[in-house]
Subunit: 180 residues, 2 copies
């Protein structure tokens, strides 16, 4: 059972499905995430877009955006691997919400097609990957952090981050690809 | 028939489902969109994120991001309506692509749950709304533009933009809401 919970947490961290009740808010200075000591980087919401995605199936329907600081964005655009020290990637997850107003407009044009628009609803969590090849040498050079409503998740959660990212080792542990 | 095609185009413009064969690319100086004379704003891909969404149903599965220039982002964050002159909103649409590598990690943690991750695939098109209350007084103060692979859509397409946005009149014709 312990193992199952651990895996659930690990995948939850990747997919951003942990603790989806309390919406994230603000960028205030908060405490650091356990293990890695990562704090919420000031101004992360102003960073440039890497890509978007969404998660379907079961009760976990989310839309997400990945943002990067200048160092990360530059590396993505140049296809540079591994990411240089100082790169930070932010993953913002929201529960998806249906949009009646969008669907009405779609239905006018595509009667019977059942087109549906899903938009970003309440925030689920925000996750960060911080590149520091010396400090985080034991975890591929990355420090990980997961915040819900500005508060970091616990140590058990953060212990799962790196193992979940290991399958993306050939892309420096980063799943997200830059969207044109 | 003409009317149906027109509505299809109109909704296509809203949803970004027009001309999904040729991927959009680059930000090179291109010609202006018909009617409104809007060109692709330089550097739009560096703008800040307003929100994300996705479209489901039929063959039209897309993930999208809306970006705003500084004036637009400020207005969104302050909840300021109508948007001030100079505000520009960009809507980037990609065909959604499944992600085997993401799904594998999800399947490890949620066996049988059928969780699926969908990421941004080839670009569909890029659309812009440019606020100029004098120049575009006849269309709610907004100029509209739709580009596929850097080339603007035709006049028939651009004739449909405003009517599709009219249902959002109480939010200054902007469907997208700012995601926290």
């Amino acid at each position: 059972m312990k193992r199952i919970v651990s895996v659930l947490i690990a995948v939850g961290a990747l997919a951003g499905v942990v603790a989806y009740i309390v919406p994230a808010s603000g960028e205030a200075e908060r405490e650091a995430a356990p293990i890695y000591g990562v704090k919420i980087p000031p101004g992360y919401r102003n960073w440039q877009l890497i890509s978007v995605n969404h998660l379907a199936g079961g009760n976990m329907k989310q839309v997400s955006a990945q943002l990067g600081n200048d160092i990360a964005i530059k590396a993505f655009r140049e296809g540079k691997l591994p990411f240089p020290d100082g790169a930070i990637i932010a993953a913002l997850h929201w529960n998806e919400a249906s949009s009646d107003e969008n669907d009405k407009v779609l239905a006018m044009g595509f009667p019977g097609a059942g087109l549906q628009s899903f938009v970003a609803g309440p925030a689920v969590n925000i996750q960060f990957m911080v590149k520091d090849s010396k400090k985080y040498a034991a975890t591929g050079g990355w420090g990980f952090a997961d915040f819900t409503n500005g508060e970091p998740g616990n140590e058990a959660l953060h212990k799962t981050c790196f193992s979940c990212h290991e399958p993306a080792k050939d892309r420096d542990y980063v799943f997200t690809r830059y969207a044109p």
